[in-house]
Symmetry: C2
Subunit: 640 residues, 2 copies
Amino acid sequence: MSSADETLEKIRTTVEQETPDDIEIASVTFEGPELVIYTPDARKVANRDRLVPNLAQTLQKRINVRPTQGALVDEQRAREEISSTIPDAAGVQNLDFDHDTGEVFIEAEKPGLVIGRHGETLDEISASVGWTPEVVRTPPMESSTVSNVRNFLKQERTERRDILERVGRQINRPTTDDADWVRLTTLGCCREVGRAAFILSTPDSRILIDCGDKPGAEGEVPYLQAPEALAAGPQSIDAVVLTHAHLDHSALIPILFKYGYDGPIYTTAPTRDLMGLLQLDYLDVAAKEGRAPPYESQQVRDALKHTIPVEYGNVTDIAPDIKLTMHNAGHILGAAVTHFHIGDGHYNVAFSGDIHYTDTRLLDGAVNDFPRVETLVLESTYGGKNDYQTDQADSERVLKKAINEAHDRGGKILIPAFAVGRSQELMLVLEEAMRSGDIPTVPVYLDGMIREATAIHTAYPEYLRDDLRQRILYEDENPFLAEQFQQVDGGQEMRQDIADDEPCIILTTSGMVTGGPVMSWLRLLGSDPDNTMMFVGYQAEGTLGRQIQRGQDEITLSDGSGPRAERVSLKMEIETVDGFSGHADRQGLETFVETMHPRPEKVICVHGDEQSTNQLSSALYQKFNMRTYNPKNLETFRFV
Amino acid sequence: MSSADETLEKIRTTVEQETPDDIEIASVTFEGPELVIYTPDARKVANRDRLVPNLAQTLQKRINVRPTQGALVDEQRAREEISSTIPDAAGVQNLDFDHDTGEVFIEAEKPGLVIGRHGETLDEISASVGWTPEVVRTPPMESSTVSNVRNFLKQERTERRDILERVGRQINRPTTDDADWVRLTTLGCCREVGRAAFILSTPDSRILIDCGDKPGAEGEVPYLQAPEALAAGPQSIDAVVLTHAHLDHSALIPILFKYGYDGPIYTTAPTRDLMGLLQLDYLDVAAKEGRAPPYESQQVRDALKHTIPVEYGNVTDIAPDIKLTMHNAGHILGAAVTHFHIGDGHYNVAFSGDIHYTDTRLLDGAVNDFPRVETLVLESTYGGKNDYQTDQADSERVLKKAINEAHDRGGKILIPAFAVGRSQELMLVLEEAMRSGDIPTVPVYLDGMIREATAIHTAYPEYLRDDLRQRILYEDENPFLAEQFQQVDGGQEMRQDIADDEPCIILTTSGMVTGGPVMSWLRLLGSDPDNTMMFVGYQAEGTLGRQIQRGQDEITLSDGSGPRAERVSLKMEIETVDGFSGHADRQGLETFVETMHPRPEKVICVHGDEQSTNQLSSALYQKFNMRTYNPKNLETFRFV
């Protein structure tokens, strides 16, 4: 009997001892980080108030109780029963029965009506059909990404069950050693922005945190072949943890599966979907630019298949001696400040990932409250001593003024923006400004992946800021559905029509003018001095965006849509509005640390250029008298 | 053709081009770090003044020129020829012909007479017999270690040639990469004294520096299984470099061969011999204490067989991108400050090993002058802010006073001392004091390994301090041969006789009274208040030496020589004399850094307890405004 089997046998004994005699336990099994208990008496279990929480407490495991097959009524009858129980107003779109787990996924427009007061309707369904109902909201905007991911995972259920069982056994293997040491190795994003990747290791476990590319320097990938990382083979990694979907954190995760990695990826559900969208786009861009992509779309699917979604605030076992908890980071949808608890109270380390400290229109500010934390690994994008940004109210005033001026000239506004995060924030600003009459209500055209990214946002309203979630869920005031937002889905012809038409605003990718539809828009709008191009995000060194921002007015475009490269004399107005960044500025970073609870003993400053990490590290040391570090890539710290 | 063969072929072409046409090149081959050129015209090569140095310069290799077999006269005739050429006064003891290399080793009491004026006699031999004469001094004291090692290596010549050839090919393999990074990983002796072990690595190479045990904490071994070290298999290590023979630096080297390591060990010749002596004693002690030794004597022999001796000051290729140079460390015989030059001017790091900064009677002070050095890894044994030792003159006064007092009482002096280093220093002090009449000339009995360790010293006079070397070599005033030094070679019976006899001095192991003959001496001498026990070295926490030093006067002895454990009431005088340490004190360490040329940018303080490394690190930072570190074990620094 393997040692995981022995562990499971012990757990089963405990479960039987702790459960009243009238409840039969059919089997217990690991499924990823959870323990699943199969019982013909699932209803009775649900009705015993503290039974499951007490078991979870005793076993120190997340527990999922499922009915045995014999306790389930057949699918056809269950379908009829469920349809007759849920009120029509709930707008049920789909019922999806998972015979492996005994779950039925109920997709509805109004999940509240499916759940019922205090969960009464769900209880009724569960009692009558035996199946465990799981409610899924019908997204207010249809997202092909979300539905593709759901369909794919459904189709791969059998393999996924195998993966989860294997992962469960891995997590529950006995430890070979006491937690003698805890180490952190930097594989990238030290004294630079890009290729985020860290190894957190103990004598028993090895966790990879993020695995990104370096925009504008495709050859500079994380040091995955370091001895502390993959040199001992892909199976030496227990788990990958992803802080958020941006490519400088996620782009190279699929390559791990090409190398033979076969383990889990832990991240939030929205990050999983955004990651899939961005990775496929990454392959697309590489192909268009004639670069050999480092992996195929098959590995993107592998990554999705191996992803175990975690929710903010839930403590998850990811290795025999490591527990993960993710918290809102305020940066983009699903982004997480990621906390690791190692051993039994042995050590705690938090990775900020990318953070925004204050609330934005889209997201709440980053969480910085933890039960314990000794070391913080902190992003430093705006860590330089002069990296203070204007506040959002000022930024919005500048934005609206520029829009009004262009409109008064009869011009159009072209805004290049990142599809995920900045675009949605701007949509909220524009919708509000139009609703309040601060700017004229004109069409806002969304080009590139922006609409799809927005649709993913509306599929996960619980990850958005409180008041925005309310508007999306209960008041039918979903700002993203405002009628002035129109998708550019007619290609070059539609763009030409828009360009020839009345004043409007165009929100388009790419955010740094390095390719994508913004190139067509520059050709169409660039030579008219009445038009305005407005930069709302960071333009990296070496990008066309940076060159235009600095005053270059002769540019060469070759976007593939015209017959060949074309020189354009830029005569449009060029404006830059800061304050819409998804990153905390210097003040925000300091305040994040100052108000962090508990105050960490050590801060390791990463994800910023050499000057930013150095200056932030010095400032935190001087202000808060803590040990601070500004490491290079390929260094290894020992915490204990 | 393998790439090492290609390299060799290119070298051969260069050698042929650079050599006059009348010199035939039979073959070229790698032998460890050297390039060996076989030629039937070895004499002609030797007579072309700058030919070999110029070739070495061009090829950037150490070069050894050997005659081809056909150029050698047969052994019997050569033996007669050599015997008739060398004057009888040279005292030739032995001729040893190596048919693999064409060398003849001439062991003589007076090597100068074998060499002749300006090497004339050697030239004559070489011309007449074809063999290349190598002169070896007959040690003034017979050392079984030295002769055992020499005989063993002679017997293993064939395998050793294979090892050297393999090592040579390893060193001359093409590099896979530019020297992108240089890293240092601490596997032990950080914030502690003991288990010295470091990994110096580049994308191409991985070097292990030292591999010691931790005295008094046998379970705490270096973190050899760290990913940066042996986790990728024993063959991932290119070379082991040993700074000196003490067990806290060398004890666990043989275990590498048990793990399957098959590569070279670079160290000085005396360190090789002392290492063999101490490792075998380490196994012996483990067996006597009933511990399972971590390796067998076979692995000690493996280590000897794989050792490539290097001389102070010679630059040696030890990996495709790493050159090693060893310099006198002043600590014990053969101990080295070890300098690594990485890449082509890419980076330089020096490891102090253990150092003594000022001259002692036995050794010159440590070298701290290098062509370049960016980082110094510095021992910190006496790095604490109060770790100042009295100077040696004062120490000697205290020692002599205590000896005279005991002698006046008619008592005996018992001095526990480490066999290697401290014992020889004390012998020099005692011999001088007796010669000058400062103390009475009484027998000085040497017990344990002291005599053998002393004999190894006299076999390598070129490693001793200048004036001492002169005395040993040319003036027949070898102080170690003074007649008052007498070996205890008659076991318990002889000890009893000595104890019953006239006043004397006993110098015996172990240095910290943790076992060995000192235990018998305590039983024989401990209860007589006329006797004196004198501590001259560091007594570690937890040792019997430390307890006695602190005043404990009831001790339990079980040395295996008596029937069972015995309680002894200590009534003898207890004295402590500091200043005889083999380590630089705090002042010495600071001065070593202050006068180091060039001044390093970074100093990493190791090999001291937490307080010592911390205080030395702070002091060097404050005084010299350099970056200093006080790492933990298992940390990895990146230098570039």
